[in-house]
């Protein structure tokens, strides 16, 4: 075990190798996951290690990639299906909503769907149209569907293991902008990071900044620059799993700091920040000392690469949002 040994995408890859070696029920499939090793190389080397019955290239058929995972999991397997880009999830929404998320409920527990659907999500890599969507709030709204979004290499492998072990379906969204952006120590062998536990990335007393996935690195950068510039002590929470949501960690943090800024990449209206703000209103209103600010994508489709950098929240925008929270400014 060496320090800073794996990038985020290498953590996905190592997590899949580890889970497949430990449990022969785990099968990995999707478009180009076999010989090609995935378009981001997330599945590199799996077909050589586990053969083409457990690592399977599929037709271009997202509906069946996800729908068949429900069937395979009911038949005793632990499918880990890949959707190549988050922009290709919309056609499978029907299978997620009508089948995966409610098979346990509608059969009164006779069947369940221990399946994982992995997809790279988010913008910033100069990809083509329909490759960069961040619609996690829509998926987190589906009862019975768990939504996990890791923000670091260590969490990625540990959360992936938990998702694979979980008896119910998990949509596992990977921030592809940070696939190779940095390295972290990721242990060899199996370990897990539990679903439903937010992480406090930095302890602070003046304001709490809440984010996840692709927005974690720019959020940390914004907080660094802010703490360099002025005397402020910021607490940062990485939500990690939108569903199940760790409300306790968030509520306890706001009880301490009295102020919060929420940062996410998806559009603002109806975004997941709204759920967090509502939770804080329900459980910590009397502790709030200032309006909660949201720094998010705009209420527009994520543009093609020409303008995507203006859509994505960046450290200066995030820092400005935190400063407004600190100043106790109301309005939007």
């Amino acid at each position: 075990m060496t320090d800073a040994n794996r990038t985020l995408v290498e953590a996905v890859n190592d997590g899949l190798h580890t889970a497949m070696a430990a449990d022969e029920r785990v099968i990995v499939y999707g478009e180009d996951v076999g010989d090609n090793g995935g378009v981001f190389r997330a599945t590199d080397g799996l077909i050589e290690a586990f053969g083409d019955e457990r690592v399977v290239d599929t037709p271009i058929a997202e509906i069946s990639i996800v729908g068949s995972a429900v069937g395979l999991s009911m038949a005793g397997f632990r499918p880990v299906a890949e959707i190549q880009f988050s922009g290709f999830i919309p056609p499978v929404f029907n299978q997620l909503v009508s089948m995966a998320s409610r098979i346990r409920w509608r059969t009164r527990g006779e069947h369940n769907a221990p399946m994982v659907v992995r997809a790279p999500y988010g913008g910033g890599v100069r990809a083509l149209e329909h490759h960069s969507e961040s619609l996690e709030s829509a998926y987190a709204h589906v009862p019975g569907l768990q939504v996990v979004i890791p923000g670091t290499p260590y969490d990625t492998k540990g959360l992936l293991q938990s998702a694979i072990d979980d008896p119910d379906p998990v949509l596992f969204l990977e921030p592809k902008l940070h696939y190779r952006a940095g390295r972290q120590e990721v242990p060899d062998g199996q370990y897990s990071v539990p679903l439903g536990d937010a992480a406090v990335r930095r302890k602070g007393t003046d304001v709490t900044v809440i984010s996840w996935g692709s927005m974690m690195p720019p959020t940390m950068e914004a907080v660094d620059s802010l703490e360099d510039r002025r005397d402020v002590d910021v607490e940062v929470i990485d939500v990690r799993t939108l569903s199940p949501l760790d409300r306790e960690t968030i509520v306890e943090s706001i009880k301490k700091t009295g102020k919060a800024t929420v940062v996410h990449e998806g559009p603002k209206s109806g975004g997941f920040a709204a759920e967090l703000v509502a939770t804080l209103n329900e459980r910590a209103l009397m502790y709030l000392e200032a309006p909660i600010h949201r720094v998010t994508g705009f209420d527009v489709p994520i543009p093609m690469l020409g303008m995507e950098d203006y859509y994505l929240p960046n450290p200066p925008r995030i820092a400005a949002g935190i400063e407004r929270t600190l100043a106790g400014e109301g309005g939007v």
Binding site: G87, M304, A320
Partner: protein, 389 residues
């Protein structure tokens, strides 16, 4: 046997043999419609009715496709272009098909058919802007080109609906839905093709079967069917297979299919070809296919085959091709200059066109963002210097 009353399902005769009642795909792969063989040999009487000028026109478009592909890949490598999908090796398939469309027809592209979009009249400058990720490039209504279907299969139901509408109108126009060999695997394609059959929609399903959907070979993982053309049978529509590296065969097959389609008979044309380049500039094909295979197809690339025809017909003289290439490269240079000169309208582009009118909340978000950028020049710096994935 009528059984005396009208039946909702055609019954057919009763038969005691399961074999006789089984509908299978053919044991042998059906042939490809071919007018000029791989060695450039042909029967002059069987060639389509094109005059010398039209034949040279076809050749010139094929050269343009090749030049655009080569130079776009080079620009991408230099950081002057986004991800690009080259059509090298498919010049006959791309040009022969779109050249057969009529002026009133609509093109629903999927991205690997630059020359088809240009033949429709889309400016080369706009094609470059599209691959640079500029939404304005999709304003091609005047040229009857729909935005490319980057999400596989998404354009099929839309194109079928458009064709349905065309069929209801006065114009004798069709919608040509271009796609690859992976698209028929999607739900959108299958429901769209079935729908077209029911509605008698004048939709042409033009499949460039280039052997691979990124890394997955057509015959090992994409479908258990031998051909794309046969899939039409399930939906009660015709399918034609054509040698996609024979530009005259493609032109003739699509011309004839187009007339059939215009009569309200949706039709599949499967053009059997080969992608000589990577899937896109982000792809490394050496991971999934052998050099021998690429070499085999390189020897059968379509421009050489058509050049042989033009030379034997005495249409293409020494030096003609060089002159054409020089002229086409100059066209490319001019379009590149125009694309470089494109001025973005700035962040307003993000907000306009989501709705007919900017709703109050979007107006507010735009205003807030404008004020933020004015007060925070460091945000521009960040964007300019951010490492781009």
């Amino acid at each position: 046997m009528s059984h005396g009353i009208e039946q909702p399902v055609p019954l057919g005769e009763g038969n005691s043999s399961i074999a006789a009642c089984t509908i299978s795909q053919p044991d042998e792969t059906p042939p490809r419609y071919q007018l000029v063989n791989e060695d450039g040999e042909y029967d002059p009487d069987s060639l389509p009715d094109l005059d010398d000028e039209e034949l040279l026109d076809l050749f010139e478009w094929m050269l343009l496709q090749e030049i655009v592909d080569e130079r776009m890949v080079t620009l991408q490598r230099r950081g002057e272009m986004g991800t690009y999908a080259s059509g090298r090796g498919q010049e006959a398939s791309i040009v022969g098909s779109s050249y057969a469309l009529r002026e009133e027809d609509w093109l629903f592209p999927y991205g690997r058919e630059a020359a088809a979009m240009l033949i429709q009249g889309m400016p080369l400058r706009d094609l470059m802007l599209y691959w640079r990720g500029v939404e304005d490039a999709n304003m091609q209504k005047a040229h009857r080109v729909f935005p490319p279907a980057i999400a596989i299969g998404t354009h099929i139901p839309v194109g079928v609906g458009y064709a349905w509408g065309l069929g209801l109108g006065e114009e004798d126009a069709i919608a040509a839905l271009f796609h690859g060999d992976g698209h028929p695997s999607t739900g959108e394609f299958q429901s769209g093709a079935n729908f077209a059959g029911v509605m008698n929609a004048p939709a042409l399903f033009y499949c460039q079967n280039n052997g691979y959907s990124i890394s997955v070979p057509f015959d090992e993982g994409q479908t258990a069917a031998q051909t794309v053309a046969q899939k039409g049978m399930a939906w009660g529509i015709d399918g034609i297979r054509v040698d996609g590296n024979d530009v005259l065969a493609v032109y003739d097959a699509v011309s004839q299919a187009r007339e059939h389609v215009a009569d309200g008979n949706p039709t599949i044309v499967e053009s059997v070809t080969y992608r000589l380049e990577a899937h896109t500039t982000n792809d490394d094909p050496s991971r999934y296919r052998e050099a021998d295979e690429v070499d085999w197809w390189e020897e059968r690339e379509p421009i050489s085959r058509f050049r042989t025809v033009l030379e034997s017909e005495g249409i293409l003289a020494d030096g003609d091709e060089d002159a054409m290439r020089q002229e086409l490269n100059q066209q490319f240079d001019e379009a590149k200059e125009a694309a470089d000169g494109y001025e973005s309208r700035g962040i307003e582009e993000l907000f306009t066109y989501v709705y007919d009118e900017l709703p109050p909340e979007l107006e507010r978000q735009l205003g807030e963002f404008e004020r933020f950028l004015e007060g925070h020049p460091e945000a521009h710096d960040y964007i300019d210097h951010r490492p781009k994935g």
